[in-house]
């Protein structure tokens, strides 16, 4: 489903070249919940950005759902991000001037969905994250954990096949972090593939598989133990949300 082979990603500044990813290879199958760990600067965010088509890479090949993403135009990458990928950010990245439902609506509008369809998706996504009653609140009126749940609702409202999360609990206390983690597990159980970057070994243990990065490449895979519930694909998630 996601297949990276010998990817290298170089950041060039006037003075130095940084190999953020070096001969990076990874395969992730549909429905997996993969935690990515590693020391600061090891390339976790870079990996997520490449995986999520937010950044280009210099060498290697990357197939997403069997599509070679290198050949894609900027618009095509936007469309793929919009329809197949959901992002969850460390600092939530809600749009401060839009209320909760308008925030969730943002990717749906870019997808060009009809108003009725969008309304239903917003309602069920907010239902899932337990914030249906806060639809008209502004982000500033919510706690950090609630904001992150709105961001999760935004990420899943479009039924993505992949959910990419970069330290989604990094700005939350442990209780809220656990809630968010519960939510991610629940979403994964509905069939969405999740790539989770985290520093927290406890959270990482809850994933099915751990990938440890050092210096821009994978140093270690933990054992892969498929969970009983993780069987379906994106369609299952879609069915559950609809």
């Amino acid at each position: 489903m996601l297949k990276m082979q010998d990817i290298s990603k170089i950041y060039r500044t006037d003075l130095i070249e940084t190999y953020a990813l070096r001969a990076f290879s990874l395969e992730v199958s549909a429905g997996e919940f993969v935690a990515v760990t590693g020391p600061s600067g090891s390339g976790k965010t870079t990996f997520l950005n490449v995986a999520g088509l937010l950044e280009d890479f210099e060498a290697g090949s990357y197939e997403l759902d069997g599509t070679n993403v290198r050949a894609l135009s900027d618009d095509a990458r936007s469309r793929l991000r919009n329809q197949r990928i959901g992002f969850i950010f460390q600092s939530f990245n809600l749009i401060p001037d839009l209320n909760v439902e308008d925030n969730v609506d943002v990717p749906l509008r870019y997808r060009g969905l009809a108003a009725g369809d969008r309304r239903e998706r917003i309602a069920s996504a907010l239902e899932l994250v337990g914030l249906a009653s806060r639809a008209r609140h502004m982000p500033a009126q919510l706690s950090g954990g609630q904001q992150q749940r709105v961001a999760i609702a935004r990420a899943i409202a479009g039924d993505p096949a992949f959910l990419l999360a970069d330290e989604p609990t990094g700005n939350l206390d442990s209780l809220m972090a656990r809630q968010v983690m519960d939510l991610l597990e629940q979403i994964n159980e509905m069939g969405t593939t999740i790539l989770l970057v985290t520093h927290d070994p406890e959270l990482a243990r809850r994933a099915q598989r751990n990938v440890h990065l050092i210096d821009g490449h994978v140093s270690d895979f933990s054992a892969y133990e498929p969970r009983a519930a993780a069987s379906g694909g994106a369609d299952a998630a879609g069915a559950a949300l609809a």
Binding site: G52, E55, D75, S78, R81, N82, F87, I95, Y110, A155
Partner: protein, 406 residues
């Protein structure tokens, strides 16, 4: 994809201070633009009215007799004989006042000798070459003959009229609506009559700034030389005026020791002097309006730039969740369009109110609505253009900004 106006508007309303200021600026700019341009166009129309006169090839000569020996009629005859014989001169005439100069005389004319009083119309004394010296054309009837030219009025005989006159078509229409004016009689206040022998058109008289500068009639008479002053109109072949002006000035200065030549000037000089106020007003209004629009563009540009630079993370996030570059451009253009739109709507009201006030205050015609529509479109387009570059910069924000900034 439908344009997401509502969320853009609600986001805009949460940060409205800058937007309101820029919208107000746009409103004021529209009111100024529309009214200023309207005034400019009116002035341009005023200055562009046909004069019928070959302004570019006519020179005006002012001669002043200053000795006891100076004699008006012989002097006129001698000067005209010289001028008319000059190669390159088309025609020359002596005249009572300078056309297009906003100076001259208005005298009453009546169509009915029983009438109580006549209205004043611009009267211009010329000789048989007067029409040719101006370059105006007869459209009916005939020119004055040499024999018809009357001697100047004198102190003893100050109210003598003339037997024949030539009128402008506009004056003919005024005096005898829908009738042929040829052969019709008109009267001076002493009920002395003259017959209309010719009609010229188009022609502007001595008062371009009056309401009806084309209500003018010509008298076949040498002018009365107040204090020995005489004015000649000389029309040259195209392109020869400047050279002939020097020749003429030198010759006339010497030819008669009993007078001096005060000046020799192109007729354009007097027309331009008459329109100096209009011309200055035009330049002033255009400059102020252009500056105003430039400042407004800067305001729009600054607001858009500010909005982009304070929202880079939001832009990156939008890109990350699926916005294409053109969606980002569209976002900022729609946002700017809303601000400009609000400004333009308020501006319309402001422009109409200003126009109404000006029309009352300065007796101007009421604002033409085409100007309002044109001004709205112009400001709208300029506003979008000013926001274009910031919008492009927004679209260049990479999606990775979403994960790379805190």
């Amino acid at each position: 994809m439908s344009v997401p106006v509502r969320p853009i508007l609600s986001a805009l309303l949460r940060n409205r201070t800058g937007a309101v200021l820029v919208a107000m600026q746009i409103a004021i700019a529209l009111a100024v633009l529309v009214n200023a341009l309207y005034i400019v166009v009116q002035r341009a129309e005023k200055m562009g009215r046909p004069t019928g006169i070959d302004v570019d090839n006519v020179m005006v000569i002012a001669s002043a007799g200053f000795t006891e020996r100076f004699q008006t009629v012989p002097s006129i005859q001698e000067d005209l004989a010289y001028l008319r014989a000059l190669p390159g001169v088309v025609a020359a005439s002596v005249t009572g006042s300078i056309p297009l100069s906003d100076g001259g005389s208005n005298n009453p004319l009546l169509t009915n000798p029983e009438a109580h009083a006549g209205e004043n119309y611009n009267a211009l004394e010329i000789d048989e070459q007067g029409l040719a010296a101006l370059g105006v054309h007869l459209v009916a009837g005939r020119n004055f003959t040499h024999e018809e030219i009357q001697p100047p009025l004198t102190k003893l005989d100050a109210s003598r009229f003339v037997p024949e006159i030539i009128v402008s078509r506009a004056l003919a229409e005024r005096l005898f609506p829908h009738q042929s004016p040829l052969g019709k009689r008109v009267y001076d206040p002493l009920r002395q009559s003259a017959t209309i022998v010719g009609v010229v058109d188009p022609v502007m008289g001595c008062f371009p700034s009056s309401d009806h500068p084309d209500w003018v009639y010509f008298l076949p008479r040498y002018p009365y030389a107040f204090g020995g002053s005489l004015v000649y109109l000389v029309r040259t072949q195209p392109g020869q005026r400047a050279a002939l002006m020097r020749v003429v000035e030198q010759h006339l200065a010497k030819s008669n020791p009993d007078r001096v030549i005060d000046w020799v000037r192109p007729l354009n000089y007097f027309r331009d002097l008459t329109y100096l106020g209009d011309r200055s007003m035009e330049i002033y209004l255009i400059t102020v309006t252009a500056l105003m629009i430039a400042v407004t563009c800067l305001g729009i540009f600054a607001l858009a730039t500010f909005n982009v630079s304070t929202r880079t993370k939001q832009i990156g996030t939008r890109r990350a969740v699926g916005a294409r570059r053109r969606d980002i451009v569209q976002y900022f253009l729609v946002e700017n369009g809303l601000v400009t739109g609000a400004g333009v709507i308020v501006g319309c009201a402001l422009a109409l109110a200003t126009g109404y006030y000006l029309s009352l205050q300065y007796a101007l015609p009421r604002l033409n609505l085409y100007f309002l529509v044109g001004g709205v479109l112009l400001l709208w387009a300029t506003g979008q253009l000013a926001a274009w570059q910031p919008a492009r910069r927004a679209a260049a924000v990479p999606p990775s900004v979403a994960t790379r900034t805190v």
